[in-house]
């Protein structure tokens, strides 16, 4: 990565940080429109950086840009939307677009599994809890964030650090560490002529069925992990049931009784 592209990347992240800061709920000071403007600028700068990495554009490139844009925009809305229901829905959008990116990476099985598990089960449960617990009016703790400036700075500095490092993939090291891999497929490493830095690129798809490969991997090399995750699921099931089974009133604490007969006036229905 040349210094110019690195600076452009940092600029993109700075713009993005500003955008997220403006969009984060801060009561009256929230300016979603300004934030969206900054975010748009950031996305454009980012796409400029990423476009330098394209070797030969084909249709996957356009899909990549489409779905990564959706993923980032939706992710920003997940953390900035004052209503948790919308956050959850935007998160479903993130899951779907990340799954699309996984499909582009030829990981169809994981992509669909993510949709089934996240969108089909986990997020439904989240929505269930949100809808049961949350009123339609936005409570104060949703309209005010905690230390938005510091958090945004920390997050985006981290983002810049990780992204800059991971944009510098050195394939020679990667191939060396891949020597012990059992299930392999041809990886063709193409040199990025513009920057004279090598970049890992795949020209040939995985030949055997993706599900078969994942299954072989899970059932042979990582079978212990599989067993452990099964146990973990069992433990969490037991834990969740044990936790939500009985309501234990706290010592001396009485929950504030909701005002009677006021539903629809002072108290919004749910």
């Amino acid at each position: 990565m040349t210094p110019e592209t690195a600076y452009l990347l940092y600029f993109a992240f700075a713009l993005g940080g500003a955008g997220v800061y403006f969009m984060l709920p801060r009561g009256e000071a929230t300016k979603p429109a300004v934030g969206a403007l900054f975010g748009l600028g950031s996305l454009i700068a980012l796409s400029l950086v990423l476009s330098t990495r394209i070797i030969t554009p084909d249709h996957t490139t356009y899909y990549f840009y489409l779905f990564s844009t959706i993923a980032i925009a939706a992710a920003v809305r997940v953390i900035t939307h004052p209503k948790p229901v919308y956050s959850a829905l935007y998160f479903i959008l993130v899951v779907i677009s990340v799954s699309a990116l996984l499909v582009l990476l030829e990981a169809e099985f994981l992509a669909v599994a993510a949709i089934i598990v996240y969108a089909g089960a986990i997020m439904v449960t989240y929505l269930f809890v949100i809808m049961l617990a949350q009123q339609t009016s936005t409570p104060h703790y949703d309209s005010r964030s905690r230390e938005p400036l510091l958090a945004v700075m920390a997050g985006f500095v981290l983002m810049a650090a990780i992204a800059t490092r991971s944009a510098d993939i050195a394939p020679s090291r990667v191939v060396a560490s891949d020597a012990r891999s059992q299930v392999t497929s041809p990886v063709v490493l193409v040199s990025d002529g513009a920057t004279d830095e090598p970049t890992g690129t795949i020209n040939e798809p995985l030949t055997r069925g993706n599900t078969l490969l994942v299954g072989a991997s899970v059932m042979t090399r990582y079978v212990v992990v599989l067993e452990i995750s099964g146990v973990l699921l069992l433990v969490s099931m037991v834990g969740a049931i044990a936790m939500s089974r009985k309501r234990v009133p706290m010592e001396g604490y009485r929950p504030a009784a909701p005002p009677l007969g006021q539903i629809g006036k002072e108290v919004e229905p749910y």
């Binding site: 229901v85 949709i115 089909g120 439904v124 049961l132 599900t211 309501r247 929950p255 229905p269």
Partner: protein, 398 residues
């Protein structure tokens, strides 16, 4: 042009357009037939005013849905209120993308799949899409900001989450038997014959799994007797109480599209998809264009059969009560499918998973065990068991 049209992508695009267009009409007419069948079962005539035998009724309904005033009540969450029926509609339709409609077509010396998309993970795709189907109901119910709608949404959530487990297990059993997640490869082994006479359809291999999958499909499609989300007697209209005009129409169409997707899915999984025994056009070897049409018609006939079965069941059975619904899933279907799953895995280990005697024997064992459990269980249908109302006593107000 012909080159493109006969390529896989051209066929996929055309098929997508055709399927989407035809399905709109089929969905509309399935509403008509639902009303007709309901009427016949109840000794009535059904729609017979618009056109001969009322055949233009769906068009009249469509016109009405479009031109009625589209009310958005003031207290609703507008974005989600508009989004919910759209989601219901779209999610019900996109499942059709993975259905293999007509086998393969030999054109210009190359074989083309009559399928919008033939992903490696067709079954999982359908499962994922089915899992998303609940969002329309949940969002519609919550966004309406109406207690009845909300109850409908909550019921739908709990119901779908519960019935997804036996459904997934049934699908896993089929996958274990057929050894593939690709729908076309699930159909192909089913086109063989036992002793030259009986097609190797999975329904003969796993009748109990078929039954359970059909029940869970009914529940997933929110059909009677599992339509608690819209129980008119208790919840006014359930999740679509506040909806009117085109939005209500989309909920309505979405429900029927969901039924069609589920029927196509279960036909492919258990009834050999486009295969019909002894009909030479509907064999995998037949790849002419006429054969493709015949295969599509065969699959369409199977879908129509399932639709009729669903409607017949709807106008026969009363709705479940919610605790009955939950008990059926958690104490009935899930243990049964778990037992079937383990038996199938065992048979797979010994290589007997495609032998009729062994799989049906396994199904019988599970059925007999269930019958024995049911016979000795002291629960009555009313759900009023001794000590049941003790739960909840002495808890803090929430």
């Amino acid at each position: 042009m012909w080159e493109f049209l006969t390529s896989q992508m051209g066929v996929s695009i055309m098929l997508a357009a055709v399927v989407f267009g035809v399905m709109q009409g089929v969905v509309a007419y399935s509403i008509y037939f639902e009303r007709k069948i309901a009427a016949w079962i109840q000794d009535r005539c059904g729609p017979n005013r618009v056109g001969p035998f009322g055949l233009l009724q769906p068009i009249a309904d469509g016109v009405k849905f479009i031109f009625k005033e589209d009310v958005i009540p003031g207290h609703v969450d507008k974005v989600l209120f508009v989004l919910a029926p759209t989601m219901m509609f779209i999610i019900a339709f996109i499942g059709l993308a993975a259905i293999p409609w007509g086998g393969q077509w030999l054109v210009d010396g190359k074989l083309v799949n009559i399928q919008v998309s033939n992903p490696d993970i067709g079954l999982l795709y359908l499962l994922g899409v089915g899992g998303m189907g609940v969002y329309g109901v949940v969002l519609g119910g919550w966004a309406s900001n109406n207690k009845y709608s909300f109850y409908g949404a909550i019921r739908a959530t709990a119901q779908m989450l519960s019935y997804e487990i036996p459904m997934g297990l049934c699908i896993v059993i089929v996958v274990l038997t057929m050894g593939s997640l690709r729908l076309e490869e699930i159909i192909l082994p089913q086109t063989a014959y036992w002793s030259g006479a009986i097609p190797k359809w999975n329904i003969f291999l796993h009748p109990l799994v078929f039954l359970i999958l059909f029940i869970t499909m009914l529940a997933e499609a929110n059909r009677a007797p599992f339509d608690l989300a819209e129980a008119e007697q208790e919840l006014v209209g359930g999740f679509h109480t506040e909806y009117s005009a085109l939005k209500f129409g989309m909920f309505f169409l979405g429900e029927y599209a969901h039924m069609i997707t589920a029927s196509a899915f279960i036909s492919v999984m258990f009834l050999g998809g486009w295969h019909l025994p002894w009909l030479p056009w509907a064999q995998p070897e037949a790849t002419s264009f006429a054969a493709v049409i015949v295969k599509m018609l065969v699959l369409g006939g199977k879908i129509a059969g399932f639709l009729f079965l669903m409607m017949w069941i709807r106008w026969t059975l009363p709705r479940f009560r919610f605790d009955q619904l939950m008990r059926l899933a958690w104490l009935g279907l899930i243990p049964m499918t778990l037992g079937l799953f383990m038996i199938t895995v065992g048979l797979l280990y010994f290589g007997l998973h495609r032998s009729w005697a062994w799989t049906c024997g396994g199904d019988t064992v599970v059925l007999v065990l269930t019958l024995m459990y049911v016979a000795v269980s002291r629960r009555e249908v009313s759900g009023r068991t001794p000590g049941m109302n003790v739960i909840g006593v002495g808890t803090a107000a929430g």
